[in-house]
């Protein structure tokens, strides 16, 4: 994948080309949201740190799923009473399959985030700019989780000599650093694909002369820290 030199149309592009040929999108919101959901999930899976929660997207997708479920249930009821045609059955099948795929993406998105929260619970709670990326439910989860971990660890750490019982400091020192709190590694390498032409971009502030010419569909393998801003701006997607 990294060696793909000639920019090839991505599956996302093909979908959009086809859709534009079919005419303007009217009630196509579920489709656009699905591709956004898929991107959100893949980005979340690949990023070493937790990304901002997609409040609006998840709310819309949940509503769409619930609405589509009612449609499917209604058509299945119709099928049961023999009032529907073969086309209706097929439509119900297709809706059901799509629902399953969307639900998978939702589940996987929530799960990927919970994993990261569990790994870095204390870090999330003590850094305000990280905490604000979590949904309200996730913030409560992080807090409750940190508490049950502390309770469990203290069953052993509580027996340690005075000053050594903390799970966030090696030795309790006033004004000492919280040197036992794991943080995500922003220098981990990620693969990413450029979504739009950006021209010459300075990526590394420590090496300002070294710019990269970023064109749509370019693929980079690079430290996460250097493309974090581009990811926030939706100029790149992780892969």
């Amino acid at each position: 994948r990294v060696s793909r030199d000639t920019p090839r149309a991505s599956p996302m592009d093909e979908e959009e080309d086809l859709a534009s040929q079919l005419g303007p999108r009217t009630s196509q919101v579920p489709d656009t949201d699905v591709s956004r959901l898929k991107r959100a999930y893949v980005n979340e899976k690949c990023a070493p740190e937790i990304l901002p929660f997609e409040h609006d997207l998840m709310r819309r997708v949940t509503e769409s799923v619930d609405a589509q479920e009612s449609t499917v249930a209604a058509s299945r009821a119709a099928a049961g009473s023999g009032a529907s045609s073969a086309t209706d059955d097929l439509t119900a099948h297709v809706y059901h399959a799509e629902l399953n795929r969307i639900r998978f993406l939702m589940r996987a998105y929530y799960r990927a985030r919970l994993r990261k929260i569990e790994t870095h619970a204390v870090h999330c709670l003590k850094e305000p700019d990280v905490l604000e990326r979590l949904s309200d439910l996730e913030q409560r989860y992080a807090s409750d989780y940190a508490n049950i971990v502390e309770e469990h660890f203290s069953s052993v750490l509580g027996q340690m000599p005075e000053g050594y019982e903390s799970m966030v400091q090696q030795i309790i020192e006033e004004d000492g650093a919280f040197d036992m709190v794991p943080e995500p590694d922003a220098d981990a390498h990620v693969f990413c694909r450029v979504r739009e032409d950006r021209g010459d971009v300075m990526l590394d502030p420590d090496d300002p002369e070294n710019t990269m010419d970023l064109e749509r569909d370019d693929i980079l393998m690079i430290r996460y820290r250097l493309i974090k801003k581009l990811l926030e701006d939706e100029a790149v997607d992780l892969m």
Partner: protein, 220 residues
Amino acid sequence: SLFSDEASQSAPARSRGMSNFGVKGASLVTDIAQSEKGTIPPYNDELARAVVDESQEHHRSILRLIGDIQAAGASLDEAKPDDAAAILVHHQAVLRNKRALLVYLNERMRRVRQLRWEVGTGLPEAVGENLSHSERSFFTQYAALVNKYQGRRGGVGLNLTLDPAPPRDHKVQVRVLEEYGEIVTKDGVVDLAKNTVHLMWRDEAQPLIAEGVLEKLDDH
């Protein structure tokens, strides 16, 4: 003295006469590191306690050394390099032990969490026997935490343990491995008699497959 006679007699031959600092801690880490992935070996309470007790001994040594320095009329900053080094070694030994204990606890805790996602809220008896009291308590609390987050009220309203992999077919062929009786499905009542084969909706079959009641048949 820096060496406990008792400890040097029970320690492996290679460390007799040499410092046995950190040996017990290393054993504890090895205990969990060498265990089969996906299983949880019995909680090694004896060894964990021994590591904690050793840490307490180091701490007593530190306090003694500090006491000796202050008794001689000096402040800690003015302590001789030998004394300062001795205190530092004991301190680092405690930190090492603490780290070993946490590696042990943390890895076991990770496997306990995994149980909730793979097996559900019911802790299998065979596994429960291997857990410490605190670990069993942690499992119960963690299971409840996940339930709360998944729930319809006050949660995201989605069972997150379903679909560990992307769905391929929305209906699956399954064979019944254990007699399960009748269940109500979206298609109506299905009698899960042992060895019968059914075509079921994947999301209805999946929990039963995870429990071992049904076996997914590949289509060939």
